[in-house]
């Protein structure tokens, strides 16, 4: 396939491209949410987990923050999102509080699932977030179903569904995108192609070069964007969202990116060549955005420091609150399996 990758930011310096860009306010919001995401996941993975305050599995999106941020920042409250396991920015942008998120990771009663489920498995119907389940790809038809509800009711909301390159091998992924295509449902499918699924490189996952090549099989547009360029992600998402709202059906956006960490907190990613990691570290999406915003005068260097400070303070505060939040009562285990009056 002959696909051009859309980029607005130079990989290692400032802006290179005069694509449609979001307002300065939105650019600053993106910076804030990406930095908040980075710092929050840093604390979870490198501090709280290592301190034994977060138990079980921890998966972070270090190096991939631009994707969920760029895709979610332009959504309406009435749209619904189905994030995957490296999309922390999505939760933050939708308005889930740091305390609720941290309490989730620490298994507290105040967490998004009141201690029932772990880590990224956070949902909230008031925020229109449908939570991920571990079975990769399962939320792909679920997102189609949300879109179906919108379409059946004549609403112009959209469902935005996130997944990794590896998840596209699941049967449910195929069934879900196929159904969305056949019924022309208002869904935007966003793939973070970080080129690995756990230790498995892309070429062991699919016999095509790009995840977007798979869109052809569903008669839907497949677009490749530089996933470490938040403005490019925003731009592609805006167009796909508009398409969905206009009743033209689903779009698949592939965001090329890289996981700047192991698969989960216990994995040192020894299987990733050092140079490859270094190559992508240079293309850190947050650094790229910072450089661009400084060059275009949207923010100063000290302005960036202030954002970092704000982010740290907010997280410090939230950790304090969450750490002091209560655990669920043991007998809560028995509740809410079914509707209770």
């Amino acid at each position: 396939m002959n696909v051009k990758t859309i980029s607005t930011l130079s990989p290692v310096s400032g802006p290179i491209n005069e694509l449609k860009v979001p307002s300065e306010e939105l650019q600053l919001q993106l910076l804030y949410f990406m930095k908040l995401t980075r710092e929050l996941e840093y604390r979870i993975e490198r501090k709280l987990y290592r301190q034994g305050k977060v138990l079980g599995g921890v998966y972070v999106g270090r190096g991939q923050e631009a994707i969920a941020a760029g895709a979610c920042i332009g959504l309406r409250k009435s749209d619904v999102i189905c994030p995957s396991h490296r999309d922390m920015a999505a939760f933050l942008i939708r308005g889930m509080s740091l305390r609720v998120i941290l309490a989730q990771y620490m298994g507290r009663k105040t967490g998004a699932t009141r201690g029932r489920d772990a880590n990224m498995h956070m949902g909230d119907l008031d925020l229109n977030i449908i939570p991920f389940i571990s079975m990769l790809g399962d939320h792909v038809p679920v997102a189609a179903g949300a879109g179906l509800a919108f379409k059946a009711r004549g609403e112009d909301n959209v469902a935005v569904c996130f997944f990794g390159d590896g998840a596209t091998s699941r049967g449910d992924w195929h069934e879900g995108v196929n159904m969305a295509s056949v019924l022309k449902l208002p869904v935007v499918y966003i793939c973070n192609n970080n080129q690995y699924a756990y230790s498995t490189p892309l070429e062991r996952q699919m016999a095509v070069e790009n995840v977007a090549d798979r869109a052809v099989a569903y008669g839907m547009p497949g677009e490749i964007v530089d996933g470490n360029d938040v403005l490019a992600v925003w731009d592609a998402s805006e167009r796909a969202i508009a398409r969905a709202r206009a009743g033209q059906g689903p779009t698949l956006i592939e965001c090329k990116t890289f996981r700047l960490t192991g698969h989960s907190a216990h994995d040192d990613a020894a299987y990733v060549p050092r140079e490859l990691m270094a190559h992508w570290e240079e293309r850190d999406p947050i650094l790229r955005l910072e450089r661009a915003l400084v060059e275009t005068g949207v923010i100063t260097k000290s302005g960036i420091d202030k954002v970092q400070e704000r982010v740290q303070n907010e997280i410090d505060e939230a950790i304090q609150l969450a750490e002091n939040d209560p655990y669920p009562d043991p007998e809560d285990c028995l509740k809410d399996v079914y509707f209770e009056q």
Partner: protein
């Protein structure tokens, strides 16, 4: 009023709920133009339009997944499995996404998944299955297996109105073989309530689905021998009517557990555990199971007949138990 068949009762139940509640819709393979392989959704496409009667690709997992998503957004989906056997393809969505949703994040998934199950029509291993136990063993789901037209209609309505995911296993052998006059007015049958189909004093036969008739036929025969069977139709398996089971067993003190499903891990095991835990002192004899053997459902008539529990099986075991 003419008698209504079991299959028509289901159709009516869905139809009436769709008339009453515009959130209710149907999706599945060939449910639209064709009206469903067994005609359960016949005429609905014309009446309710293509966004309430949705022909889908052959994608059982996505059918259920999409039903879940639509339910979370406020609709009330009814997903048809063309044969209940194919629910295996949606097992993951049902047991992991739908069943655990409320528990995890307090978001109910009010979906109904329905389809024809059961044997006796020479369908072979893949058109005769009784998949209920896979779902009975999954907390968060409800499982319903009606045996009569009245129950089929009343329970499908309860299932549609239920705030949690309900698996509704119709017995295809009964589709056109049982019928009865139904009330003209709206009625429901509560999920989780059994029905005593025949009161009796000697032995309780606890069963569900098509086996209710096997039990009743056996009871009629045994009456001639002076053996008085009680026949309890569970109607719902999850939740099941524990009180009715224990009440009956405590009264008769002898019990036969009968189902068309295979034996190991079948529902009779669950019942045996509950009875031997909670009514141990009332038992005057061993708990006896009559079930299909642990094999796939075979196709050829002599094999399938051997496979399915029969009136003669109930009679034999009842006589043994009576004499105990």
């Amino acid at each position: 009023m003419p008698a209504t068949t079991y299959v028509e009762a289901i159709r009516q139940g869905i139809w009436e709920e769709m008339e009453k509640d515009e959130r209710v819709f149907v999706l599945g393979e060939d449910v639209g133009i064709y009206g469903g392989a067994f005609k359960v959704t016949e005429g609905m496409l014309e009446r309710f339009g293509e966004w309430r009667v949705i022909d889908t690709p052959i994608s059982e997992s996505a059918i259920v997944g999409a039903a879940i998503g639509a339910a979370l957004m406020g609709l009330r989906p009814i997903a048809e499995m063309q044969f209940a056997d194919f629910i295996s393809c949606a097992f993951d969505q049902i047991t992991n996404f739908a069943a655990k949703s409320r528990y995890r994040w307090n978001a109910g998934v009010p979906i109904v998944i329905r389809g024809p199950s059961g044997g006796g029509v020479h369908g072979g291993p893949f058109h005769s299955q009784n998949p209920e136990m896979y779902y009975v063993h999954t907390p968060g789901l409800k499982v319903v297996c009606p045996s009569s037209a009245y129950d089929a209609k009343g329970l499908i309505k309860s299932a549609i109105r239920d705030p949690d995911p309900v698996l509704f296993f119709e017995h295809k052998f009964l589709y056109r073989r049982v019928k009865e006059e139904l009330p003209a007015e709206d009625f429901t049958v509560p999920i989780g309530k059994a029905a005593v189909r025949r009161t009796g004093s000697d032995i309780s036969v606890i069963t569900y689905g098509a086996m209710v008739y096997t039990a009743l036929d056996a009871a009629k025969e045994l009456e001639k021998e002076g053996i008085d069977l009680e026949v309890l139709d569970l109607r719902s398996l999850l939740p099941f009517d524990r009180e009715a089971v224990l009440e009956s067993v405590k009264r008769t003190s002898k019990v036969i557990l009968l189902h068309e499903d295979t034996r190991i891990g079948g529902f009779a095991g669950e019942l045996a555990a509950v009875i031997s835990e909670e009514a141990f002192e009332y038992l005057d004899g061993p708990i006896r199971r009559i079930t299909a053997p642990d094999t796939p459902v075979p196709y050829s008539p002599p094999l399938e007949e051997f496979f399915l529990p029969k009136i003669s099986d109930v009679m034999r075991v009842a006589r043994e138990l009576y004499a105990y």
